[in-house]
């Protein structure tokens, strides 16, 4: 009977893991809707294609090599050992003999991890929207999801050197979000801004998103999926302590997003004079990113504050990056990168085990590696096939050029800009 109880625990934790994985998988739809709502209609099919394809590529590449790189059998802390494909699952005997060490299915773990990779990659697609070649992006996705993300993930979560340095990042403000934003930044720097975004005399021109209900839906999907993202990162639910922890993570995740949204909305109202919906959406996402590095230890009120700070940061960061002529159509670098850094540092507010040094080491190592590795990959792709569509295609839209179809063929008007 004790064996049966262990089995039930194993089953509950596995099931919990799978439900969380479904929620995180759903975030792929969230990014897709968010991004397709924030770009112009003439580039919508392309960004849809990019998003569905990157999710699929992430799943395949992580199965082929990424997962094994991130959680390797061997490795020196910096460079993981290489192996391919997924192994078998735990046998009943192994589970019973493990004295609680083995408490969920390996494949459930893979399922949960694989949707994280896709998340990191989704971040990139928004930042390079409306001007990057589709296939160049997809080639980058192969390297990002198969190599770059897993290697730096190994450092923290695969018992690599950052884990040793005490870098603390519960669900990946740095490992997932800042990593994705860093790869995006490298791409954007090589790619340049969209035509017409920055005027000759330093003007910053607005390029309004074409479908704000879709963008809002995307935000809600992401918020919903984030319960799986953070909640699943507790990795266990089957006893009182872990169940309480998961509940706390849910509550804090929710409140941090709420704090971020309200702060960004009010701030935008004060600074810009109007209630900027897109800033509110980014504020909520900023709240989610901010709490991701430590959704467990803060009191709920502190969680709301951490999110609120994230929401404030994102408003200024979006405006600031524009000043630097770093063109990021959906604000991905601000939301996931700049706020991701804040999230990693905010761990220090409530988690006594984290150290400033550890957090800074983590940020530095992840940023440096992902930035350099991405830059190299982007540069090689640029040399080999080009990363930017030609001017005319950018003007008439990537949809026709890359996909041969329009997103809304019946009701998109010609635009003069």
């Amino acid at each position: 009977m004790e064996a049966t109880l262990i089995e039930v625990q194993y089953a509950l934790d596995t099931f919990y893991f799978l439900m969380c994985a479904v929620l995180v998988m759903w975030m792929a739809a969230g990014f897709t809707m968010l991004e397709s709502g924030l770009v112009r209609s003439r580039n919508t099919v392309e960004i849809l294609t990019k998003n569905v394809a990157l999710y699929a590529i992430a799943c395949l590449m992580y199965m082929i090599v990424g997962y094994n790189l991130m959680y390797p059998d061997s490795g020196n802390g910096f460079i993981p050992g290489l192996s391919f494909f997924l192994g078998g699952d735990n046998t009943l005997d192994e589970v019973l003999a493990s004295a609680g060490e083995i408490y969920y299915s390996n494949l459930a773990d893979f399922m949960f991890q694989v949707v994280f990779v896709a998340t990191a990659m989704s971040i990139v697609s928004g930042a390079v929207a409306e001007r990057m070649k589709l296939w160049a992006f997809l080639v980058f996705a192969v390297f990002m999801t198969g190599l770059i993300y897993p290697i730096q993930g190994y450092w923290s979560w695969g018992e690599g050197f950052l884990d040793g340095l005490g870098y603390s990042d519960y669900a990946g403000s740095g490992i997932v979000h800042m990593a994705g934003a860093t790869a995006a930044l490298a791409g954007v720097l090589l790619l340049g801004p969209r035509k017409g975004k920055y005027g000759p005399n330093g003007q910053i021109n607005a390029i309004p998103g074409s479908n704000l209900p879709l963008a809002t839906l995307g935000m809600f999907i992401l918020w919903m999926g984030w319960f799986g993202f953070n909640g699943g990162s507790e990795l266990m639910v089957s006893n009182v302590e872990s169940a309480n922890n998961v509940a706390k993570v849910f509550v804090n995740t929710n409140l941090s997003a709420a704090g971020g949204l309200v702060t960004a909305l009010i701030l935008a109202r004060l600074v810009f004079g109007k209630a900027d919906l897109t800033m509110a959406l980014n504020g909520a996402l900023a709240g989610l990113v901010a709490i991701t590095a430590e959704p467990l230890t803060p009191a709920p009120l502190l969680a709301a504050v951490i999110g609120g700070v994230g929401g404030a940061i994102v408003v200024f960061s979006i405006v600031g990056l524009d000043r630097l002529k770093i063109d990021d159509p959906v604000g991905a670098i601000s939301v996931h990168g700049v706020v991701g850094i804040w999230g990693v540092l905010a761990v220090l507010l409530s988690n006594d085990e984290a150290t400033l040094l550890g957090q800074l080491a983590g940020l530095a190592a992840i940023f440096a590696f992902v930035f350099v590795a991405s830059l190299i990959v982007w540069a090689v792709i640029k040399a080999a096939m080009g990363i930017r569509v030609d001017e005319e295609d950018e003007f008439s839209g990537l949809d026709m050029a890359e996909c041969g179809m329009e997103a809304y063929p019946e009701f998109v008007s010609t635009r003069a800009d």
Binding site: N205, A206, P208, G273, K274, M279, V315, I318, D322, G331
Partner: protein
Amino acid sequence: MKLITAIIKPFKLDEVRSALEQAGVQGLTITEVKGYGRQKGHTELYRGAEYKIDALPKVRLEVAVKDEELESITDAILASARSGKVGDGKIFVTSLEQVIRIRTGEVDEAAL
């Protein structure tokens, strides 16, 4: 015959239509257009960046009329389309050489 082309404010369309009906007009064609003029647009901020909405939505009306009706009909438009604020629009009149009703092949005044 004359072709009257009027640019009006969209929210005046219903009133203008009634006025035209009352003036005996049996048909008209409308197009959604944008206008630049003395009425200036407004500047908004989107994610902190400025954008000018300077082309304002207008409705363009085309009515073909008999010569003798021209004045009564332009008067009807003037009366109904006026709000008194800048941007009320214009009436343009050009000469119409020929009109044909496609269904019947009737021409000119009979086709109106």
